[in-house]
């Protein structure tokens, strides 16, 4: 169950997968997928279950079916490391996906730009669209609202009976929304919310404001 959000009169939906859908622009924003991570580990002798490779594609297909976006914009760290055979899976996925795909380059994106160009994927360090600034690293800039990733945000919650939870979340400050990591095999980093911050945690198949 997605959770909707209005920023600067534009409508957004936060999906429990970690993706953000921009309704007016029909654009799906996805951050920190870390494709190829499982294969990278396996290539270096760590036997992570290989079937886990497909999870990200299955999730992305589900989102495309649900929202039918014109555009998909990856907010960096699309690939985890250097090129490996998962690139072929990605090529196949791009070929069958009708949406226009854009990549904001992140610190993990070390694969040669030509390879993305060959797939007609545009790459940018940042994008400015109607008062919104799309980046990989969180940025603060006058007059612009920033969508970003990189941090893999999570928060800690506590309750009576010494209960603790650590949950991945969408982390919103006044001028910024940090997306959770989309990737299936990625960790999280705990952030401390301040008074004005809004936090939307991912709880199984729901997004809940806390």
């Amino acid at each position: 169950m997605a959770h909707s959000l209005i920023i600067q009169d534009q409508h957004f939906e936060m999906h429990p997968s970690g993706a953000l859908f921009w309704v007016e622009k029909s654009t799906l924003l996805i951050s920190d997928v870390h494709l190829g991570k499982v294969s990278h580990f396996r290539k270096f002798g760590a036997a992570v279950p290989k079937h886990a490779v497909h999870k990200n594609y299955v999730l992305m297909d589900g989102l495309i079916e649900k929202y039918q976006p014109f555009n998909i914009c990856f907010l960096g760290d699309l690939f985890h490391s250097s090129i490996n055979k998962e690139w072929v899976l990605f090529e196949n996925w791009i070929a069958k996906t009708p949406s226009k795909v854009t990549l904001i380059t992140g610190n993990h994106d070390i694969i040669a730009p030509e390879r993305f160009e060959a797939l007609e994927i545009d790459q940018f360090d940042e994008l400015i669209v109607d008062g919104f600034l799309l980046t990989h690293h969180p940025e603060e800039r006058e007059g612009l609202f920033n969508f970003c990733g990189h941090l893999h945000p999570a928060i800690k919650m506590k309750g009576l009976g010494r209960q603790h939870l650590r949950l991945a979340c969408f982390f919103k400050t006044n001028g910024q929304l940090i997306l959770p990591a989309f990737g299936a095999f990625t960790g999280t980093y705990v952030l401390q919310p301040q008074e004005d911050d809004q936090v939307f945690v991912i709880a199984d198949d729901e997004v809940i404001k806390v």
């Binding site: 580990f41 290989k50 072929v88």
Partner: protein
């Protein structure tokens, strides 16, 4: 020389020292020279090193009559020690023998502390006698042409075998021995063990069940009876005696006269953090001890540890605060007194520590017991009986540790490679893998080569390759290098090296602790106050600080459970209290505590099973008192909370100690329903227990070690400062991936079987439940915490279990504004 002449050589040496060899020493010499294997049961400080170094050297003399003039080079014997701190001591006794008998034999040490230069030298020419650790022995198996190194090795001695048995390092030893049996043609295998409950099994594990090696073996017992006296330090005012969490510091002043009245005192603590705190506090309250007391634990750097050990021998120290790091080996004749702070959690360990004092034969050993909370005085009382009856516990060996086996096979693959048909019979004859099936073996081989059970086109898994002739071999240098780094990490968490910014190694701390510090934080470590500056690579940089702090690094582990016998003894003491039969100073002193306990609750008799419930600002507490030891309580709490979660959606946090366990929740549990539904039944116990593990995190925790040992999670190598970019992950993530995609993976399954077979002791759980079924259940609803409950409810290390939807839980929680 014939055997009689050889004995004479040894006898003469003893005569020269004005010593007389013990019977067990002579028995060992004889058995060894007859070519037998064996297990020597002898305590520390009894001369066990001479029992085995002598026949090793005599055997060399026998084979090389020209030994005084000609030196036959090459490795003759290996001495395995679980703690590298002990290697110096063992070397000295070996060198004494080799030199005094005028042989030209050399003695060398090879551990994690050995310099690269030394190691390279050894590679060219091995010393005759090599002292090493289980990990370093594995690393030798990872060198090319290792079979030549061990070809003429005539003996391997595994010292402190009881410490290795029941650990995965013990399994590493079993595997190394299985290989050495084949490549060393004339090998004798000896173990040395302190007294444990299952000595015969210890011998079987060492030598392999139903093997020739076991058949051709002896058990030799030193039978040195030591008189041990236990003295409890009893607080003068019981009413104000804190129940827990004060680490025993309120009794600090009672320790001072004991230290003053004795030449050297060892203060044993159970954890390294407790050790740090005690050391600080003694100095703070009694600055006059400065320079006369020291601290010793496993995370302090080697130089400091060696210095402390030497200072004990020189009698230049008044007292040393230490952990189990001083449990083993090293003989410290000048130690007159031992103080145990907090429950020792095991009779064997307690006896070993007590034996540290009054080291001369025939002298009585005195151990002072300092309780950290009132309930521990009951423990002290039970310990008195245990010491009298020598009621020591078993050390349970592991079975089917596939993680260690995978590590070992990779080790063989990076040195000379291996042929499965040659290795399978070897490992099949070890204790750990006696039950391994052909299918499991094939699974493991597939896993090594393909990282799964089938090939697929996009997969680039790379580790072990199968060469044309069927040899399994690692040809990739990166994989070999990472594997070598990984071998040493069988025991633990990721650790971070602590260094001064200006250089200078201080020690190592678990990453978990460091990750909570921010720049400028001050913490206590290695007896110093240090200011944290930054993390760089796998190192934490610090500088000295004069600020006061209460931050002390914590180390996981060190949580031992009571054995079945000890739990039984503990119950007996408690029943005495229930019958108001307060004998002995400990129980007598506890009268005010028992009175307080009776205000709202009871002290249970053998026919009663006590449950207490009450509410505090932490939530709703439900406490159960089986008095069965920590391990059983862990299992029982998991089982019971799972059964309760079927009755009502609930989230509980579980805590357990040796007396009982607690379920803490944000809403009350319906105890009447627990009783009405007969939730303590042994029916479906095993399947319920299995299911309970899926809903809590015990198996998840086990998986951490398994993932590291089997090489699926790479921890980096702290001392080398090497970090693997893009290969960092954590076992938690991996556990989830396995759960979703490969739940039938043998390593994933192992996390669950280990929890049962090793940690939870299923058999004892069944007996405990049967006992409870016969007892009357007494449920007391109290208005506040009782004395019995206090040590449990203040325990911070907890398990969790939930049968609620995440969204429902979140709605009752608040976000944390502080870390």
């Amino acid at each position: 020389m014939n055997r009689e002449e050889l004995y004479q050589v040894a006898q003469n040496w003893f005569d020269q020292q004005n010593w007389k060899p013990f019977k067990f020493q002579k028995d060992t010499w004889k058995a060894f020279l007859q070519g037998k294997n064996g297990l020597l049961n002898a305590p520390t400080g009894s001369g066990k090193t001479y029992a085995l170094w002598f026949p090793i050297v005599l055997n060399y003399i026998k084979k090389n009559p020209q030994y005084k003039t000609k030196h036959k080079k090459g490795l003759k014997a290996i001495w395995i020690t679980p703690l590298r701190a002990l290697s110096q001591e063992i070397r000295q006794s070996a060198e004494r023998v080799t030199a005094d008998l005028e042989t030209q034999m050399t003695v060398g040490i090879r551990t994690g502390d050995t310099t690269a230069k030394e190691r390279a030298g050894q590679k060219k020419q091995m010393p005759d006698l090599l002292i090493t650790t289980p990990e370093s022995l594995q690393l030798l198996l990872a060198t090319k042409g290792y079979d030549k190194i061990f070809k003429d090795c005539s003996a391997i001695v595994v010292d402190e075998w009881h410490e290795l048995l029941g650990t995965k390092r013990g399994v590493q030893m079993e595997l190394a021995l299985s290989r050495l049996k084949t490549i060393s043609k004339d090998l004798r295998i000896w173990g040395i063990s302190a007294t444990i409950g299952n000595l015969d099994q210890a011998r079987e594990v060492l030598l392999g069940p139903q093997t020739e090696a076991l058949e051709n073996s002896v058990m030799i017992r030193a039978n040195i009876k030591k008189k041990i006296k236990v003295k409890s330090i009893i607080p003068k005012k019981m009413e104000t005696f804190p129940w827990r969490g004060h680490l025993g510091l309120h009794l600090l002043e009672d320790v001072v006269p004991i230290i003053n009245n004795s030449k050297t005192t060892l203060l044993f603590t159970n954890t390294r953090s407790q050790c740090e705190i005690w050391f600080q506090k003694i100095l703070e309250k009694h600055p006059e001890y400065a320079g006369e007391i020291a601290m010793h634990h496993g995370s302090i750097n080697k130089e400091t540890r060696l210095w402390v050990e030497q200072a004990i021998r020189n009698e230049s120290l008044k007292a040393v605060v230490c952990t189990s790091s001083l449990d083993l080996g090293v003989d410290f004749a000048p130690v007159e007194t031992v103080i145990q702070i907090g429950g020792p959690k095991g009779v064997a360990r307690f006896l070993q520590r007590a034996g540290r004092s009054g080291h001369r034969p025939g002298k009585e050993s005195v151990i002072h017991f300092l309780p950290t909370h009132a309930m521990e005085l009951i423990e002290a009382s039970a310990l008195q009986v245990a010491v009298k009856d020598n009621a020591v516990e078993d050390r349970l060996p592991y079975l089917n540790s596939f993680d260690v086996l995978l590590q070992y096979l990779t080790t063989l693959a990076i040195s000379d490679g291996f042929y499965p048909n040659a290795i399978f019979p070897e490992i099949k004859r070890t204790f750990c893998y006696q039950g391994i099936t052909e299918d499991q073996w094939q699974w493991l081989l597939n896993f090594l080569v393909m990282g799964s059970q089938s090939l697929s086109s996009y997969d680039e898994y790379k580790k072990v390759e199968v060469e044309a002739d069927g040899k399994f071999k690692v040809n990739n240098r990166g994989i070999a290098m990472r594997h070598r780094f990984q071998i040493g990490t069988i025991v633990g968490d990721a650790t971070i090296t602590v260094k001064y910014q200006t250089g200078g190694y201080i020690g190592s701390i678990e990453e978990y602790f460091i990750s909570k510090l921010t720049r400028g934080d001050v913490f206590t470590f290695a007896g110093r106050n240090l200011e944290f500056i930054r993390i760089k690579g796998m190192q934490a940089h610090v500088r000295n600080s004069t600020k006061k702090t209460n931050k002390v690094p914590s180390w996981m582990g060190g949580r031992l459970s009571f054995s079945a016998q000890m739990s039984e003894l503990l119950r007996q003491e408690l029943y005495k209290a229930a019958a108001n039969d307060l004998q002995g100073p400990e129980l007598k002193s506890l009268k005010p505590i028992f009175d307080k306990q009776r205000e709202e609750s009871i002290v249970p008799t053998p026919a009663e099973f006590l449950i207490e419930t009450f509410k505090t600002r932490d939530g709703y507490h439900h406490i159960f008192y089986p008095f069965e030891g920590r391990a059983v309580h862990e299992a029982m709490s998991s089982l019971l909370s799972y059964r309760i979660s079927l009755l009502q959606p609930i989230t509980v946090s579980l805590a357990f100690n040796d007396y009982g366990f607690e379920m803490l929740s944000d809403k009350p549990i319906d105890i009447q329903a627990v009783l009405d539904n007969d939730l303590f039944t042994t029916d479906y116990m095993l399947s319920d227990l299995q299911k309970s593990l899926n809903s809590n995190e015990m198996a998840r925790r086990k998986f951490r070690d398994i993932a590291v040992i089997s090489g699926m999670v790479f921890t980096g190598y702290p001392n080398k400062g090497i970090k693997m970019k893009h290969l960092q992950s954590n076992s938690q993530l991996l556990f989830d991936v396995f759960k979703d995609y490969e739940a039938d993976n043998l390593l994933f399954q192992q996390a669950f079987t280990e929890t049962f077979e090793h940690q939870l002791e299923e058999g004892r759980l069944r007996m405990a439940l049967t006992r409870i079924e016969r007892q009357t259940i007494v449920w007391k609803e109290c208005s506040k915490a009782t004395p019995f409950s206090f040590p449990i409810i203040t325990d911070r290390l907890r398990e969790k279990l939930s049968s609620e939807k995440l969204a429902d839980r979140i709605k009752r929680m608040t976000r944390m504004l502080t870390k």
